[in-house]
Every structure is written in C-alpha cells, then in structure tokens.
Amino acid sequence: MFSRAYKAAISLPPLLWVASFLLLPYLLMFCYSFWSVSAAQTIVHSWNFANYRQLLWVDVYWQTLLRSMWIAARVTFFSLLLSFPLAYFLSFYAGARKDLLYQFVIIPLWVSYLVRAYAWKTILGSEGVLNTLLQYVHLTKHPLEFLLYSPFAVVLTLTHIYTPFAFLPIYAAMEHIPRNLVEASHDLGATPAQTFWKVIFPLSVPGVLAGATFAFVLSLGDFLAPLLLGGPSGIMISNIVVSLFGAAYNWPLGAAISLCMLVLVVSLLFFSERLEKKWSIS
C-alpha cells in the first residue's frame, strides 16, 4: 500500500529520536558506570567494577535503595487502598454521576506536581494548617515534628500524587467487565459479596497489577517529594543520584546506581506484564 521509501521516511524521525535521546544516553551511562573519578576530579576511562562494588558495600547506598523500595511499596499499598474502592464505586454504583466523579479524580493531574508537593508542605509544616489546628483544639501542646521532613510526609505526598495513576487502569479494567456477568452471578445464587470475590475482583486483577506497577515505579524514581518534604530521614535513592551527578561530581557512581534502578524497574515491568497476561482473558 505504501512504498518502502515512504515507510522509511515516516519511521526515520521517531527512530532518530529514540536513538539520540534514549539509546545513546543509556549507552553513555552504561560506559560511565565502569569508569572512575581521579583525585584531580577528572573522569578516568579505566574499565572496572569499583562503582558496583561500592553500591553493594557502602551502607548508605544499598540502605537508601532498600528504603526507597520500602517507601514505594507503602505508596503502592495506600494508592491501591484508595483507588480500588473508588474505582469500584465509580464503575458499579455511581450511575449518572460517573463521568463527573471521574473528572474529579483526573483534575488533580492538571495541577503542577510542584504545587501539590508544596501544598503538603504548608499543610504538614510546624506552622502549617494541620499543626495549627491540632494545637487550637488542644490535642497537642507543641507542633508535631514527625509530620514534615520524614518518610511519613514522603509516603503521604506520593500517595496523593500517584493515586490517580493507580486508579486509571483499575477503573478501565472494571469498565470492561460485562455487566451481564454480574447478573449471571446473582442469577446463579451468588450474593453481592460472593459476586465481588468470584467475578469482579478476579476480572479486575490485570488493572490492579498495572496500577500497582505505575504507583511503584513512579514513586521509586521520585526525587522532588523527598527533596521538599523528606528531610534527612526521608531521602530516596534518586536524591543520591542527583547529588552524585551534581555537587558530589561522581558521575560514574551515579551512573552505576541509575543502571541498577533501571534493571530493577525494567524487570518489574516485565514480570508485571507477564502476570497481567496470565490474569487477563482474551
């Protein structure tokens, strides 16, 4: 239908784009991760595994990586906890208000990430909305310190930011469940609760997996929320990468950590897709 020349011409720009802005940078990062920095602060092109060894043996790196995963896991858990019932309600019980409520879930995505992160800062700070309120009603005498600059603040903010991302695939999966399956289940004597566990939940699992993957991967790589709200105890692995590429000027170590995260995320995506395929019905 289309000539070879035409096909080549239209596929060239995206291929060039992917090559120069994705493949090339990854290749460079890959190379950097085996190089090192000399005492005179220059990059030495000597190939070795020193950076990877450092990542495994220096506590702060692997501990921060583990803590980041722990934060991301909690964000995933709470995002699912919020978005699953919301998607279920919207898809099955919202009736005519469905579209309006759906928009309410989407609207926060139009607001800048920074604005939303700063909003939590004003809410959680020692002079913030929440602490002022707690002291006003005499629940506490002093501002609660753990609210801001803590892993708690990071988990809270990231949950707020990534819940719509978890919600969307779950909602889409539920919208695709034929309603006559629910009727068939009731018809066969299943109560609403049995219908939920035997029909609705199994059929929404692919959406839950996709939503969980979104929430986990996006929050694992986040660095703004920990930067703004995390404090020293709420630092995440991306903050370390940022500082290694910046002030610390250790690009090789930064590249090694980045590549580890990349491998982690890609394998996660791979497994979640396998699982989704296994659960989805064609």
Partner: protein, 365 residues
C-alpha cells in the same frame, strides 16, 4: 384495552397441572416510557411457554422482572405460595440463559457449571457429580477444561444451559438463546432444547422474536405487542384462531378482510357468507392455505365461491403462492399445492368457518 387472557392449563402431555408462576398485573415504565402494561400470565409446572414479540415489545423486560434484574413498577410475581418480586435475584429459584450466554471468561467450562453449586456451598463430591452429569447432558464433557473463549458459540450455548440446569431450578428463563447461532445449528438446537425440557421436566420461559421458533418449541405462546399481551394460546390455536389482526399477521401469513355485516350476512367485496353476528364493520382473518382453487362451476354447498384473475404466481416447492384479484378490486393471497402450470382465471372457494373474526389491533405508543 386490558388484556383478558384465556389461560389454558395444560402441559405438553395435555394433562392438567398446577400453576408454578403467576404474574399478576405487572407493569413497567422507564421514566415516561411505558414498557409493560398490566400483564397477567400463569405458567404451569413443566410447561414450555414462549414470550413472542418484536423488538421493543417488552419481552426481555418481562423476563428480567421474573429473574429479578428489574423491579416491576406495579404488580406482583408469585411462585407457588412465595412472592418472588420482593426478593433479590440470588434468592429466587429461577435461572437464566442469557442472550450472549454471559459465561465467566476467567473460569473453565467446568468451573462455570459448578458456579451455582459452589456459591451454595454444596459438598465437593456432590458438585463434581452434578457438574459432570450436566455436562454429559449437553454433550460438553470433552470440553470441561476449556475456557469459554476456546469453544464455539453453539458450545457456549450448551454450557450456559448446563450452568443453569445444574442448579435444578423450578423455572428456567431463556432470553433469545438461539439468536446468535446460524440457521442450521439453530434448528438443531430448537429440537435439542425442546427434548431436554421434556426430559428434565422444568418449566421454561423462552423469549424470542422468531414466530417459527415459537411454533416449533412451545406448549403455549404469549404474544406480546407494545407492552401488552395480544393472545396467550397453544401454537395451533393462535395460528388457527388468532384473536387479533396483529396475532393473525405476526404468526404466519393471512388475508385480513374488512367486512360489513348486515342482517346476518358478512360482505367483503364480491364475497359474502352468512354469520350470526351483530350488524357493523368487522375484521376477518383468512389464511392463504384455507382458500382453494376449485374447478369452474363446481361450487360446493356451504362454501364461499368467487371468480378471480391471477396477478402473480410464485412457485415455492411444495406449494405455490398466488395473488388473485377478485371482483371489486379485492386481492387475496392463496396458497395451493404446486400445480401443473400457469394459471389465469380461477374460481376460488373457502369455508366460512376458516374466516376468523379478529379484533382490530389499534396503534399504541
């Protein structure tokens, strides 16, 4: 215009049996849209009742009210001594075969059939025995481990049937279950479904828009039109003695004759026959096969005769369909056994008993 329905309580064997389901003055409206009006209907034990109607006649809504997926706006549904319409669908001893089968796509054929027994927490050995018995009955044992997406439409149909029957409901509802199948498979399934119903002895309420299907399968047909029952009768009776013009036209072909009755004589164009009816205007239904082409001047006593000219002659295998113009421009459709050749001027004759007085079917919104 409430439908006074004559209720025949005979089962397939002609033996009078008890009422299983009674629908009492059920009405349904969606907003301002009236879908069902004052429906009263009884279904006998072991009966195969077909709700026949065009799309939009309300037949599926009536079925959904019995199953419990819709609430009636008025009226009651009773099963024996038990009021059904106040109970949720999962408490009714009624099972449905859906138009699109609605098999659970994440479960195997076997698990689909076992679903009703599992949620009822029957012991596993009993479930296994009943499921394999049900799959045997619909000849689907070989596909027990398949997913619904791996089997054909006709096979899915059988699984849906097994899934419903395995629960031993007192009443099975079937919502146009054959409409997705091709013509050959459809005819085969009609026969199978009917013999299965005889075998299990469960009452079936079968919804269809196909009048032929209704005739083949049913003990009785309930003809629904724009949310009201036109007639409830056996296939033979509804065909031979249609109550309304709509019933006469919807089930089979007919000639609708608008006649004038005066002094015990019915007149329609050049046709006339005696009838013991009050004066006025009336509609008569005369089936094409009840009109015969007679030899000229061979008029029989007590039969109505009229000469006519053949306008059209369509050969249909065993029979031929003729359009014959009689005097005064009256055109009759006549079905005769396939004859020797072309016909031109013919003498038509029919028995006055075959001209059935029918009520007019006024337009409804």
């Amino acid at each position: 215009m409430s439908s006074t329905t004559q209720i025949l309580m005979t089962s397939a064997t002609g033996r009078a049996t008890g009422t299983l389901l009674s629908i009492r003055n059920v009405a349904k409206q969606f907003g301002k849209n009236v879908v069902l009006r004052d429906i009263s209907l009884k279904v006998a034990e072991g009966e195969f009742l077909t709700i026949l109607g065009e799309s939009g006649s309300g037949k599926t809504t009536l079925l959904r009210i019995i199953a419990g997926f819709e609430n009636a706006s008025a009226g009651e549904v009773w099963m024996g001594e038990e009021r059904l319409d106040s109970q949720p669908p999962y408490r009714r001893r009624v099972n449905t075969v859906f138009q699109s089968y609605a098999l659970f796509p994440h479960l195997t054929v076997q698990q689909n059939v076992a679903y009703g027994l599992r949620v009822a927490r029957k012991p596993e050995p009993e479930i296994a025995a009943r499921v394999s018995e049900a799959l045997d009955k619909v000849k689907m044992s070989a596909h027990a481990k398949s997913k619904p997406s791996e089997i054909s439409g006709g096979q899915q149909q059988r699984v849906a049937l097994a899934r419903a029957l395995v629960n031993r409901p007192r009443l099975l509802l079937l919502d146009e279950p054959l409409s997705a199948l091709d013509a050959n498979l459809r005819r085969q399934m009609q026969v199978e479904l009917k013999s299965l119903q005889r075998e299990v002895g469960i009452s079936f309420i079968f919804v269809t828009h196909d009048q032929e299907e209704a005739m083949v399968m049913s003990d009785r047909i309930a003809l629904l039109r724009s949310g009201e029952l036109e007639q409830v009768a056996t296939p033979r009776e509804i065909y031979g003695r249609p109550a309304t013009a709509y019933a006469a036209q919807f089930i089979g072909h007919t000639n609708l004759l608008k006649c004038e009755i005066r002094a015990g004589l019915v007149r329609c164009g050049s046709l006339a026959w005696p009838a013991n009816l009050p004066d006025g205007v009336a509609l008569f239904s005369l089936r094409p096969e009840n009109i015969r082409v007679a030899a000229p001047d061979a008029a029989l006593a007590g039969r109505v005769c009229a000469p006519g000219k053949v306008l059209q002659q369509a050969f249909q295998g065993a029979t031929e369909l003729l359009r014959v113009e009689c005097k005064n421009g009256l055109v009759l459709v006549v079905r005769t056994p396939a004859g020797a050749g072309a016909l031109d001027n013919v003498e038509l004759e029919f028995s006055p008993d075959d001209a059935v007085l029918v009520r007019e079917s006024p337009e409804r919104i």
